[in-house]
Symmetry: C2
Subunit: 345 residues, 2 copies
């Protein structure tokens, strides 16, 4: 088929309802856009379903819908984000990701060039991560019934029998680590959305963490908990862990890594970085004796250069997260209640 | 937590943005709605990702976004449809489905009671199919940026090494079978959408076909092609197969099963049943000598009572689908061009 191209080589035109009809237009879109950029031996089988070999081990499966607004932001776009988000969910079970699927819900009238940019970004993120997109789906809804592009990615991975990472596995005495400064993703999105400009552009931390996790799990198979503090931020993720493990968590504010720019932006925006979403960070809870080993591994990885021990698991019948403040006081770090930043991922 | 309930026991109230924020409201919705109805040992692990054992074999993975409108229709709703659709994609590779994930994109203001009906229907369909929903995700978009509920389901399954079913595997001389009358789903949706009433209510054929496929593959591991003719209908699915296998396909109109009610409705609506979506039918292409065996197996299954041989694979350098009409003529059955019925699945 011939498709009009823009001068920059991207597809011209807009998404229309025929692209979702399942006929020739759908088939053409899949060939000229999705197969073109995401090509790999499994996807190229042309099945509705992908067939591939898996190494032995238990399977891990996770899905994430991405509705981020705006679609393009400093440090990424919905394409790369939807790859990173699901790879990280797989990695948080201590697993090695094998394959991804991607389903697109497109709004009529969305520029095909923007869609192509998103698919290229998704392809690059998948390529960099070494995890292919093996199957997909495309639907179109009428103008005003969607919002540009929504993408659901689903991943599967394998985890060795020796690994038993679970949000329920934290016990008192263990150390709480975070892989780097918090709040960058949420502040980057909000700044872009509100057209705020700071001296230095704040960039999303969106990144795939599975290679770092592989190194961590290899060195310390007995890691208790891994969690990526996305929506709701570090505070909500820690409350979920405290609730699931029936423990308390004590944080030390002065050990919490926050970039000065992000801290300044949070003050202006009235945000608490503890509740702001991250897309390239992880929380690790491990036996106190393993903390130094894991910190060393994280510091040696590009995604963990600023990793730090930020707290301790404690016994607490109320399963609270409390923070010793820099001023010597103490405050409860509650769940996020309400919506701090809508459509952040 | 306590949530207001309506008199019928379903949740009261509406989806609001806090349900997508990742904080307490999201967590409460997951517990009172998704975990409540979809509970199974893997989902109940409470991971972002699900961990489970898999039997040996190659893995099959498929994803489908569901944007059907209306959400509730005769014979099902978006909840049951999203289970059936993905199970069928897995089955069409000759595989046994193991697990499903489900991601929900909810529009602010959508009634929680309707959402609960959908989740219950999804749970019942998964239960009936014997395939658990092991992980999920929920996002919320502002009113006017979505359309009630969109659901992406992703499935994985395993397929034995002996099975090599592929849309590229059809060869001249093989028989083309369909598992039952065509067009019911699309006509049911359109009738509901347009408030059309016929003497007998036309009901969607939405159904999970994996148990019938298991029986078929067990008896005839050498089945060449399986395909569910959804969007674009039988005509489009056959054209895709002809294109992928570089063959022609000859159909016999008088052998094509169409319910008289569906045929009458199609005439009124100006539709050709060949292009109307099905959600509980499959096309099977097999060696001519296996056709009777497979027909017998399909006739013995509730989803295949009206299965029929409808055509033959032929050599054709143009990869066309042609139909010998009931009147002794012959016509080309082309791809669906354009959008016959938007948002049919």
């Amino acid at each position: 088929m011939t498709k009009t191209q823009k001068r920059d080589g991207l597809l011209a035109g807009q998404v229309d309802m025929t692209h979702g009809g399942g006929g020739k237009a759908t088939s053409d879109l899949i060939e000229t856009l999705f197969y073109k950029h995401l090509s790999n031996p499994v996807l190229d089988q042309g099945h509705d379903a992908a067939v591939f070999d898996a190494p032995p081990g238990r399977l891990v499966m996770s899905t994430d819908a991405h509705v981020i607004s705006p679609l393009f932001f400093p440090g990424g776009d919905i394409g790369s984000l939807s790859v990173h988000g699901t790879l990280n969910d797989i990695a948080m079970a201590g697993a090695k990701p094998l394959s991804l699927t991607a389903s697109f819900i497109l709004e009529e009238g969305f520029p095909l060039a923007d869609l192509e940019r998103i698919v290229i970004s998704m392809a690059e993120a998948a390529q960099a991560a070494g995890v292919p997109v093996v199957s997909g789906d495309t639907k179109v809804v009428e103008k005003g019934k969607g919002d540009g592009v929504f993408i659901t990615t689903t991943g599967i991975g394998v985890v060795s029998e020796a690994v038993e990472i679970s949000p329920r596995a934290a016990v008192p005495g263990q150390a709480v680590l975070v892989s780097g400064p918090i709040g960058n993703h949420g502040v980057a999105i909000l700044s872009k959305r509100e057209n705020l400009e700071f001296e230095t552009e704040i960039v999303s931390d969106s990144a795939a963490l599975h290679t770092m996790v592989t190194d961590m799990v290899k060195a310390v198979p007995g890691i208790a908990v891994l969690r990526d503090p996305t929506r709701g931020g570090l505070a909500t993720a820690l409350n979920e862990i405290a609730h699931a493990s029936a423990v308390g968590i004590e944080l030390f504010e002065e050990d919490l890594p926050v970039d000065p720019d992000v801290e300044a932006a949070c003050e202006i925006l009235g945000l608490d970085p503890l509740y702001v979403a991250n897309e390239g960070k992880l929380i690790c809870i491990c036996n106190a004796g393993d903390a130094e080993t894991l910190l060393g591994i994280m510091h040696a990885h590009p995604s963990g250069r600023q990793a730090a021990v930020i707290g301790t698991v404690i016994g607490d019948p109320d399963h609270m997260v409390v923070m010793q403040t820099a001023f010597g006081g103490s405050r409860v770090v509650d769940w996020l209640s309400g919506e701090q930043l809508p459509r952040i991922c």
